[in-house]
Symmetry: C2
Subunit: 491 residues, 2 copies
């Protein structure tokens, strides 16, 4: 609280890192690339989890839990998947430590406790789960199999950033098996819709739904669908993916089922996931130079009440605050009363602004005598004097307004940062000025995509599902194109 | 469903393993010692989690998340803790795989990707958490620090059993820091009470609260408190532990705070945990030769409704079932209607018995005409014909009765399997006949405790908190004793 945050306009990246730490969301740990998720950050993640979990259950999924470790021989069974993750795997090779004979009081790996087969710490769980599904699926009656898992995974990233890219992260991974290709594709699309709904209605983050190009596809998938959000620095962020796996894993792990007609076929698979990366998206989409701006639906504390008083008055003010507090709680609103006698109101205001509490109510005896309280909304910083008598309804409405407003603000930002360009020159110019999403024609080849990436650091975020067909020519090669792609520099 | 379960009286151990698998709770995985928790088992665990999490929050705790990995240098900082867990640690030594030059399509550990410092997969998180607390605690204002974590941990056990002892398991671990010894001891005892309340009121498992002897103490703790339950084979099971850590970890990780008076002192710590082991306790405490018997408060499905019909009548019966189903749901009761047209009622009855659904309602047209339904309770297998008009109230009451009844049954079992003995002969005889808890005097030394363990396989489960002082003599050495200890063979 001692010094102000770096400004977004001066150093967006530093602003983000400092904000995440100072608001109490997360910090770096003693383990390279791994973070500690602090209580306030974890409380937001818990709200995300609870909401998503309810959505998964309403769409027929059940939770289960599979091992953290994947034996190497299973890991390598689906070749593309293995190849895609091999370079960033943490590998367990031993199962015991012993006293180090050379350094008293210290431990070393026991050379006699080497595993016969190395264990991979799961970077994703397709391999271990499909090897299990082989035992669960015999007949069409066992399908569809609709399972989700909440878990930690490890990907040994070289350059890490709190929430956005960490060696260990928390996520959910859905893994489903179906009798037909059509059902599996429908499941893939359904879960993409669930993610988009969550992003827009709960995170207040507008997203583009689309499909990845081959270059950006999940290793082992036939198609990767994604939702892409836009951050305030004009960079895109992939906020969730849903993969149609075809029969790739079913074939790699020999998962076949007896059809109604008595035949034997490989099942069709999907997998889909969102992670603690969503926390990074939430921070970067809405927050400002004073601190976090949280959508009310995900804020651990929705309203903070700060008593304003002179020495000796605290008890009297607190007594007047209590009915309001109880009224808000009864309405299902989470309230914090900051009755610390060690800090001044100005300090408290700044602290709750930093933490992104959507609504702040300041209550002093003079206001109370007039039958009013002072209400400040975090998103616009607007202050209002509102009648105490109707405060619960007012706050309830205000929270709904804030949720809407920050969504609309993010949507307007995306609209003003989505540009259609007709030439490569224009493309590069937009990237270096307004940035954001750039919709451009390209010839559909990996080579062109790769060259654009090398020259501009922009990648194809997706081929948007709602983007209409439009004849055009590739901005780079002049070859024909039938639809624009969403390009952007991205996290 | 094809063959019946092994009987408890014939092979308790086989009965347990088969039941866990056939009821769909868990199964062994492709990874040595690691299990897959299946959807039905996970649904019970989720209910446990939700309940415990609420209890932790009501007692002022917040959740957070700390890294899966512990660098070896941190791991070894608290010597006793390190020594206690060193022999069962999974160790990550490399962070990359590469194509095996000798075996095309296969992978091997990349010898150039060796970690400078090995990472221990957490067997418990004191080390990583206390190294973090050093940064969080400066002043008495930062205390108490009351944090809980839901996580997976790994202990490389050589002999594993589903839920009871697995290489990886899920648990929660609370880690708190306090300004005074008194506060830390009070926290340790409070969490023991929380665990006991959960075990008794939710799991319907009566437990003995006590403190462990030095031999059985958590590595690094000053005192380990525990709750001990009794299984139907007369063996005890430790269902939760709460450790008073003194200043051991604060000293090992140099966590000091400025006192109100301006001094500098090490903080006092606690840690406490329960794990998926509770699932094993739940199964072994109540279930019978037909399958699971679940306490209604933790049953994922509390009531199953089975329509009884002749060909062509299903739709009519279902239509009559719906209002009852809706009424039960409105009362907050979880209901499953088993409308499968592919299985006969007898098959369905056996399946839901195996899965331990507390109440089964069979509904046929003839009953409906008489305004009744047939209700069967899982715990006593009693069948009743009850009026349809009042069925929601009846079922609600019945669920409460079942919860009470299985608790009382387990309590009676414990009472008839708790024996006070006066001699070592008697002690050994009881262990080999009724088994259960044996209350005996011993001289309080580790040597005597160790010798008893070697000769009888019985350990001191705890020194019970409510056991009165009583002068006596050690059954083995004849030396004086002031209180009886709880002995048992144990899981």
């Amino acid at each position: 609280m001692s010094k102000s945050l770096p400004k977004r306009s001066e150093d967006y990246s530093l602003w983000y890192n400092e904000l995440v730490k100072r608001a109490g969301l997360a910090e770096n740990s003693a383990v390279r690339g791994c973070m500690v998720i602090k209580p306030y950050g974890y409380a937001i993640w818990e709200k995300m989890q609870r909401t998503l979990d309810d959505m998964f259950k309403r769409t027929g999924h059940e939770n289960a839990y599979f091992p953290l470790f994947v034996p190497k021989s299973l890991f390598e069974a689906e070749e593309k998947n293995a190849e895609g993750f091999a370079k960033e795997c943490a590998v367990v090779t031993h199962y015991r430590l012993q006293t180090d004979p050379d350094r008293p009081g210290k431990l070393r790996v026991d050379p006699n406790a080497k595993l016969e087969e190395e264990l991979i710490v799961r970077p994703t769980s397709e391999a271990i789960i499909w090897s299990t599904y082989k035992g669960w699926i015999q007949s069409y009656r066992d399908l569809p199999l609709l399972i989700n898992q909440w878990a930690n995974v490890v990907r040994w990233e070289m350059r890490t950033r709190l929430f956005l890219r960490t060696a260990e992260f928390l996520w959910q991974e859905g893994h489903t098996a179906h009798a037909t290709e059509g059902e599996a594709v429908a499941e893939t699309r359904q879960m993409l819709d669930v993610y988009a709904q969550f992003a827009e209605e709960w995170m207040a983050l507008p997203v583009v739904k689309g499909v990845k190009t081959e270059n950006e596809r999940f290793a082992g998938a036939v198609d990767t669908y994604c939702i892409e959000g836009l951050m305030q620095d004009g960079k895109a962020l992939q906020a969730g993916t849903s993969h149609f796996l075809g029969q790739n894993f079913a074939k790699a792990f020999d998962v076949q089922f007896q059809t109604k007609e008595g035949g034997l076929e490989h099942v069709w698979g999907t997998s889909w996931g969102v992670s603690t990366r969503l926390m990074g998206a939430l921070v970067m989409a809405h927050s400002d130079d004073e601190g976090l701006v949280l959508p009310p639906k995900l804020a651990p504390i929705q309203v903070v009440i700060v008593p304003i008083y002179k020495t000796g008055q605290l008890e009297e003010v607190m007594e007047r605050i209590r009915p309001m507090q109880m009224g808000l709680i009864a309405r299902g609103i989470s309230v914090k009363v900051d009755d610390r006698d060690t800090e001044r109101p100005g300090f408290k205001f700044a602290e709750w602004e930093l933490k992104g509490v959507p609504v702040r109510i300041a209550v002093g005896l003079r206001d109370l005598e007039a039958g009013t309280v002072e209400v400040a909304r975090r998103d616009t910083k607007e202050k209002m004097t509102l009648p105490l008598a109707d405060i619960v309804n007012s706050v309830d409405q205000l929270l709904a307004d804030i949720q809407q407003n920050i969504y609309q603000r993010a949507l307007r930002f995306r609209e003003t940062h989505t540009t259609r360009v007709e030439s490569y020159e224009e493309f590069k110019q937009v990237l270096d000025t307004t940035a954001g999403f750039v919709l451009a024609h390209y010839d559909g080849t990996s080579e062109t995509e790769e060259r654009i990436k090398e020259e501009t650091k922009a990648t194809i975020r997706c081929l948007a599902l709602n983007e209409p067909d439009e004849d055009g020519v590739c901005m780079l090669t002049g070859k024909p194109s039938v639809r624009r792609a969403y390009f952007a520099r991205a996290y």
